[in-house]
Symmetry: C2
Subunit: 561 residues, 2 copies
């Protein structure tokens, strides 16, 4: 072998990652990363269970990997060259850190003697990601000796396990490399000693569970399900809600709407009034999942003095309403199954009150029959196939989905609700689409522009993703905020119209395209499986539409005590 130590140690690194469940790699081209990239490519060719994607734009690559990891609940590895390439990962890592997504970031680096000394493409990569990763480590792939070889095999496995340990999160392995960088191809990877980690779960102590069940008995319990990508406990949560007749306020991203005793339109309720009628007021609140999309719900929670249980080992008291009084840092599925077993059926009145109220609110939601930002969501709700996936952009789309999506079929909804950025949305959705099947993206024109490079991954890998762009030529959300009063500066600073010709964008990335202006056209375009659908909206009209709806709800609901 020409480059034996590097070749074998890189194999050990890769084998360690694979052994602990990394089966997908997203690589951006570069020179310093050559040994890692080439030996991963070779391994992927040999092992059909592995997948490799190449993305020229590292920012896009990181969001693409994020999309894979968050929708598949598995660790995904990223590989890049040294310098600003590595810096490009930061936005996606900030998102992964907050939403607990396990990304394994392999940044290749210049060796010490080429760092901070004027050498090209060498930034200081130690602690490059600061607090945006769980852990950062260095591996010396060119250091000879069995101790180092064993360390690499051990540490690469450990890094995946660290990323997967609750709360999950991204980790960095920084790999300084000297020339020559070309590894030997066709070498059988050396055996590594693998670490076996049987699944472990955290359960409440039996006495704590008994105490909890006692505290819930006979109470008006309100369940709140926040965004949740993990499907493990959904059915049990629904079963508990139904058995105990406890209303379940389900965030659009909880992926529970349309099922069981779920209440969907609570955000509109809390927009219309800041307190609940007495008949809906709970004695106890139990929260699952991450921070709900509904800001009015969080504001309402801030005022509550009843016991609030925050459930889940990942949650770490991340409750900006500060309403939490009890933390149940246990595995959700285990806790729910135990509660389901011990809790007897409860009085159904409280649930009935909620359901009647939700029904009343629903009847007031008479939306015009023309195509707009609200009815677009309703069309998607009605027409998207069951088991399809819908990725939703931050800013206006997720708010409209939260208010107007009722889950008319069981689908998976996703959104980057860690840091709530409008960056990387297309790439994250493209990462989701690597799962195959029917995939949709609902996005505004500004977020689409921000991450147009993500469209290249769709084209390159022929990924199935239908994109619905709400084109209101700018930042629609700002019209809802006090900033709209600063009329002299509004369009320039907040509206920021880009006048992007979406037909040309679609052509550039070879997506079939249609602009739709009526509900019928929109429905037909979806049914015809047009890949890129442009829905025209006017920001001013959209503001009025939303104001009318909330005003109507306020009128209807404000009188109740």
């Amino acid at each position: 072998m020409q480059n034996e130590t590097l070749t074998l140690n890189t194999h050990r690194l890769i084998s360690g990652l694979i052994a602990q469940g990394v089966h997908q790699f997203v690589i951006s081209p570069g020179s310093r990363s050559t040994p890692v990239a080439l030996l991963i490519a070779e391994r992927v060719q040999q092992q059909p269970a592995l997948r490799l994607f190449v993305d020229v734009d590292e920012r896009s690559a990181a969001f693409f990997a994020l999309g894979m990891a968050k929708t598949q609940q598995v660790p995904v590895a990223l590989v890049c060259t040294s310098g600003t390439a590595a810096a490009e990962y930061l936005p996606a890592l900030a998102e992964a850190r907050l939403l607990h997504i396990p990304l394994i970031v392999l940044t290749t680096d210049r060796p010490l003697e080429l760092t901070n000394i004027g050498a090209p493409q060498a930034i200081d990569q130690t602690e490059l990601y600061g607090k945006q990763v769980k852990q950062s480590q260095r591996l010396e792939l060119q250091q000879p000796g069995t101790t180092n070889a064993d360390f690499i095999a051990f540490q690469s496995q450990r890094s995946v396990l660290t990323a997967m340990a609750l709360p999950r999160g991204p980790i960095q392995l920084n790999l300084p490399l000297r020339k020559p960088l070309l590894p030997d191809l066709g070498v059988t990877p050396p055996q590594i000693k693998t670490v076996t980690v049987p699944q472990a779960t955290v359960a409440l102590a039996p006495t704590a569970l008994t105490e909890l069940a006692g505290q819930l008995q006979g109470k008006r319990v309100l369940l709140i399900a926040g965004p949740e990508e993990d499907s493990a406990y959904r059915a049990t949560l629904l079963a508990l809600s139904q058995k105990c007749h406890w209303p379940l306020l389900a965030d659009s991203l909880a992926n529970l709407r349309g099922r069981g005793a779920v209440i969907s339109n609570f955000d509109l309720l809390f927009q219309a009034r800041t307190t609940l009628p007495a008949a809906l007021q709970p004695d106890v609140i139990i929260r699952f999942g991450s921070t709900p999309v509904s800001a009015p719900l969080m504001t309402w929670l801030e005022q509550q003095t009843v016991p609030l249980y925050l459930v889940g080992a990942q949650r770490q008291m991340a409750d900006y309403s500060r309403a939490t009084t009890h933390v149940l840092a246990a595995d959700e599925q285990l806790l729910l199954a135990e509660l389901l077993a011990v809790m007897p059926a409860q009085d159904a009145t409280y649930l009935a009150n909620w359901q009647q109220y939700a029904q009343r609110l629903q009847t007031k939601l008479t939306v015009p029959t023309e195509l707009n930002e609200v009815t677009s969501v309703q069309v998607l709700d009605r027409l998207l196939p069951a088991t399809s996936r819908l990725f939703i952009s931050n800013s206006m789309p997720i708010r409209d989905v939260e208010d107007f999506y009722s889950g008319q079929a069981v689908r998976e909804l996703y959104c980057n609700r860690g840091a709530n950025g409008i960056d990387g949305v297309v790439s994250t959705a493209a990462g989701m689409a690597t799962l195959g099947g029917a995939n949709y993206l609902l996005i505004g024109d500004l977020a689409l522009f921000h991450d147009m490079n993500g469209l290249m991954m769709l084209r390159r890998y022929q990924l199935p993703l239908t994109i619905v762009v709400i084109n209101n030529n700018g930042g629609g959300i700002f019209s809802f905020l006090p900033q709209a009063a600063a009329t002299d500066y509004f369009e320039d600073l907040f509206g920021t119209p880009q006048a992007l010709d979406l037909a040309q964008v679609a052509a550039l990335y070879q997506r079939s395209y249609q602009k739709v202006t009526t509900l019928v056209e929109f429905e037909q375009a979806l049914q015809m499986q047009v890949q890129f659908i442009e829905v025209i909206s006017q920001r001013a009209d959209n503001l009025q539409l939303h104001r009318r709806l909330v005003s109507c709800l306020k009128q209807e609901l404000s009188g109740d005590d």
Copy 2:
């Protein structure tokens, strides 16, 4: 006033920045940044000397500001909202840190009570940029009291002075803000106490200068001018070189080629042979500017044992050849003027030797008369107007410019040679084009793809920039590296063809476009001021072209002692 403390303190912040020379602002839209953005916009409207640009993509915005700061040698301020928006700045900051560009980054943030507690759009922004900024500070714009008001006025000025102090670099001001965020408009900014900082320079002690002059007397002195954006000392360096008959090896980015005793084609010389003929060997080397583009020059330097003086207060021994033996941490212009005064004229033989050799090398550079990556550079060299600016992408373009650009007119050449990334190139060039006049960008198709969003700034602000895209459909540089031997994986991992239709890209951003395939067509397109010129190249042909040239030079020059 509705929001008095916030309004007045934000004015103090802005006044402090302006007082110390920040006259240009690049803002990305967002809600948290509202008070800063609105009051900057108001100030810009009132003071014609100030300029404001709005860029939706924060990554692009940061490179755009970098382009302004590096070409104007002034501090430029960036403003963004909280969350991943702030993370998007990192690649440009890494570049600014290494090339000593003064960027003032105003990141708005959530207040403490919304950080790390599950609140939306709130990442941990403390130390977000780690070692990629010189300094990171927090200002509390909503804290009442005169002490805080004075502190904000003082600290904002201090942050600019810190960024401008040698070695220059980016600094972060993190601004946590609570709602309500809307400032009062139409308020007269409060007076602030400004700090006056007369210019100071670092000079060698008189004894050290005398000693230096003595050591240079009668020696064969080789001057090396690396990349330099500051024009302050160019004329004096040329004058010294001419008076003392010291050959001056000028990097393409030193902006000295074509003038005085400058040797341009030394990179090709060091590609052809690893040692110098005895007649060219120096007794002393003096280096100016940052790391030269020429890697073969740096490799040659590694082997030298003669005294090497590294000049400049920004350089900090950043010499990866480790050839430096003396650091002259003084102001270049001051040092050169003093040397020019004290040094008598020297023997002209050494310079003549270099000039003869360079001339001989030049005659061997018979390049075919067809359009290719080499002749493209030669055409630009011949045709671009005097006093125009040429921004050059990293990877192949800067290498070809280094080898084939001889400075047939006096122009300013720029490149992101801090971290040498291919990201942000279009945006940086767009920032350069805010200067007006005639501006050009030479870029490959991959770098263009990476930063296509930068084209939006050209369109939005009608910036004068002619873009020449060398389209070899992928990463041309990799064909020159050992990776090319890994043929099974090469195209997928390194070649990475994107098959981008550049005519469509030009149409999307409303640039006039022409594809050229001959030298005549290219020359005509330049003369017709086509905004977006596509030069078709084949990676394999380009490799052969370069190999033939170097092989021919090797044959010619290898025999010399």
